[in-house]
Assembly symmetry: C2
Homo-oligomer: 153 residues x 2
DNA sequence: TCCTTAGATTATAATCATTATAAATAAAGA
DNA sequence: TCTTTATTTATAATGATTATAATCTAAGGA
């Protein structure tokens, strides 16, 4: 965990930014909620517990900075709020998401799965792919289980 | 073109909505700009040319209604504005997008390309896919041509 | 025809997420 | 220490979207 923060510190320094206490607190929250797809507001509320004097604008600035340095990814599921995800270290590509239309849960897929598709797209459309966003909307296994259980009662 | 509007009229009636003049004007604008990924504001400004008395709220309501009936798709490229696309008639799946990080152009891919990926995801994650969103970020052929031309000068 | 009712629309205000601003603070270097 | 620069804070502003209330319109009956 500490080494993870140290590496982020180095990344900041490499771009001549500092890991201020506020920034460190924000990163810690992101590390503690790596699975969670937090919004800026979510991060703000959580950071306030460990650094009560922090302001919302600072959280926004920090998240933007981290996004710029590709330490976090900013995603958008269409509900009007941006969400921030710590990048997997060494991940060449953005991971994918499964959004459940029943319960709203968001699961992640770490595998790439798109290599073949990207080859086709690059050739056919003469488009040099740098990144991708793939989200599936559907019914998650939890809701699936729940409804088949309901049916059998 | 007229038949296209007639069919949309039927879809509305089937859900017991009417194709009012304002709604028709909005649909016409969408038809005329099928390639364009308009925002609500864009649609509003264009509709005002053919129906000057229309209000922004009506445009929003109409777009929301059309989205609900799956006549248009609401997309989100992460720039804080929702964009509205007329669905291809008979399209089983949402089309994909190529967003150029140089010039901001958005091109469309009509092919599905994801069939294999979806089979894998449904099996491996026990997730019943209903729809998907796939966007590639990269350099479009126009910017690519432009920069290789610059280099040769 | 007139009345009633329900649906649509308009203008406007309100809301929510996000960004900009200006003053205050802290840290780094000379 | 003094000066410069980056950073943060609180607050105001912005921009997209949604809600509200008043008004309008069309359809169906008496």
């Amino acid at each position: 965990m500490e080494t993870r923060i140290d590496r982020i510190k180095k990344q900041l320094h490499a771009a001549s930014y500092k890991l201020t206490p506020q920034r460190e607190a924000t990163v810690r929250i992101l590390l503690e909620h790596e699975e969670d797809h937090l919004s800026a507001e979510d991060v703000y509320l959580l950071v306030k517990d460990i650094a009560p004097e922090i302001g919302l604008a600072t959280v926004y600035r920090t998240l933007e900075l981290l996004t710029e340095l590709k330490i976090v990814d900013k995603i958008n599921f269409g509900d009007g709020v941006s969400r921030y995800d710590l990048r997997q270290e060494g991940a060449a590509h953005f991971h994918h998401h499964l959004v459940c239309i029943e319960c709203g849960a968001v699961d992640e897929i770490q595998e790439d799965l798109l290599e073949d598709v990207e080859t086709v797209v690059e050739k056919r459309f003469n488009f040099q792919i740098k990144d991708h966003r793939l989200t599936f909307h559907g019914i998650c296994w939890r809701c699936h289980d729940r409804s088949s259980q309901d049916a059998s009662e």
